[in-house]
Symmetry: C2
Subunit: 338 residues, 2 copies
């Protein structure tokens, strides 16, 4: 990001017809958007798009979630047919939906909303060995970057990241623990809503995986391959593509936040293009955002994924850009005291 453009936005905010600082976080966000775009006022994103990356997880066999694996493919179909929460919320904020099959285990059928780039049909059990090979992780990263690139070429000017994968809060917790150094118990949550016994098992599985792989955060690709999911890899790739194209990337929940840690480890400046859409109820999300230095815009106790929480923040991002381009200055408006 361009520090001069960000500073210019901060100075412009002092001349606009309102008490200095009275728009709170919206002012800081506007300055960040100016820095991302390299100009002030920053453009108002007109064509947001959500990329929902989907994958399955070998670690599901350890019993970390009560939901059956086939739900991942079933939900991919639901996304394509427009019946999921992500569809309703994307429609509300005017966002295009693109689903990416990065590694679903079950069948997915061709559909205009679905990009099929399956690297493998789900990961291996990360608590017993590497979730995937390094080359597979790299291919999934690339699949995500290509999907994001296609969206941007087709006109998208803001990306929201979303995920679908039964069991995927377990690899997300592993990645957050690996990159933040926090203990498993602090970053592992109830996912879709598991009971105390399942949560205790899930924490043990994350601990076992960390003990088995001894991840080195200075080797982001190796860490991702050992502990991650194919959708996390794809989302990290999408984030790198967004940052390279200087487009704001709005993060959703814990899977997006875990992918953001991977992306920022691979390329630290990428974090400058990330906007934390919301604070997921899943504890790993807050831990990851803190490590990334990002403050979430919303805190609604959501824990659905799919991009839903990120999409809800899109009007806030647009409003932050709009006030910088549409508000009058004290001088222009003839208002006293500016």
């Amino acid at each position: 990001p361009d520090g001069a453009a960000a500073r210019e936005a901060g100075e412009r905010h002092l001349r606009l017809t309102k008490p200095p600082g009275s728009l709170g976080e919206l002012e800081a966000l506007g300055a960040r958007l100016a820095g991302m775009a390299g100009r002030c006022p920053p453009p108002v994103p007109e064509r947001p798009a959500v990329l929902v990356a989907a994958g399955d997880h070998g670690v599901l066999s350890r019993g970390v979630s009560p939901w059956p694996q086939e739900v991942t493919a079933e939900m991919v179909r639901n996304f394509c047919r427009g019946g999921a929460a992500v569809n309703a919320i994307a429609a509300e904020v005017g966002a295009r939906v693109l689903v990416l099959d990065a590694g679903v285990a079950g069948e997915t059928e061709p559909h205009p909303l679905l990009r099929r780039a399956r690297v493998r049909p789900g990961t291996a059990d990360l608590s017993r060995g590497a979730a995937m090979g390094r080359e597979e992780a790299a291919r999934a990263l690339l699949a995500g970057a290509e999907a994001a690139g296609a969206l941007l070429r087709e006109g998208a000017d803001l990306l929201v990241t979303g995920d679908m994968g039964i069991g995927n809060t377990t690899p997300a917790a592993c990645l957050v623990a690996a990159f933040t150094g926090r203990p498993a118990a602090e970053v592992t949550g109830r996912g879709t809503g598991i009971d105390d016994a399942t949560l205790a098992l899930k924490v043990r599985v994350v601990e076992e995986a960390l003990g088995l792989h001894r991840p080195d955060p200075s080797d982001p690709l190796g860490t991702l391959a050992a502990l991650g999911g194919l959708e996390h890899a794809a989302l990290a790739g999408a984030m790198l593509e967004g940052a390279a194209r200087r487009v704001p990337v709005v993060l959703d929940g814990v899977s997006s936040c875990a992918a953001a840690l991977v992306a920022a480890a691979l390329s630290p400046p990428a974090a400058g293009y990330m906007v934390a859409g919301h604070l997921s109820a899943e504890p790993g999300a807050g831990a990851a955002l803190e490590a990334l230095g990002l403050r979430p815009l919303l805190d609604l106790g959501m824990r659905l994924g799919e991009g839903t929480g990120g999409l809800l923040a899109v009007p806030l991002v647009r409003a932050a850009a709009r006030v910088l381009s549409e508000m009058a200055t004290f001088e222009e408006a003839g208002v006293s005291g500016g």
Copy 2:
């Protein structure tokens, strides 16, 4: 609100294709919207409107704000010309803007966006006597109700309340203290951003006013007349009209929250139609919302008023209604495990 419709929404949420409760506060909000509309799914608000009530304040002569009184009329002109924050944010969320001159001291010119119903040119100094007479308070209430009624007749299906009035966080603090029983120091804040000395003076002025009037919260009109502003009265009237018409009323900052206490004291069921758009940085707002039993949707450190924080919550309200009407159930989507 209709408890049966709200319960039906809660049950519908369990059948929609997502883990139970995973949309967090959005689910509770959806149930409230169903209760307000008396049906499930509730209608998605398509034509939001923000009513920005403006007034001036005799207590400004005590030095509670550094801004000159003429800024109120100047900002009314800025609203009409489209240069204020409320205009930019209303445009973002597709809301109509109506400005109500309920008691501005300076000149306001006729304009299609301005409804002129000035009860008096600003209040008297509430720290030395009643801010206005009971009859004046009632007329300002009615002016707000009529403005809201006009918006609803012309198609608005969701109201956002906004305010403009140099010095108006002082009467807002007085009203919050009077209706919640909290001490002045807890509910009085920095408004547009006053320094420590001015804040200390402002707290003393609020304390003096409470000591002078000894407000009786069981006499809401008398409390409003003694300690309020003409814009607070108008907003309370607008809230009562919205509730009577079963339309959601999204509250903005401390002036709206103070008006909400007046409205709920006059008619307790009115609180059932209020949605707390955001938590203002002004401490009286949180105190009022707690007394009203409302949880704010946003917390962005904003303290501008005009309806800006309320407007930013409109997409969340619409999304809460949309998921109830647009999402597929597990059965409809053929997704396992519901």
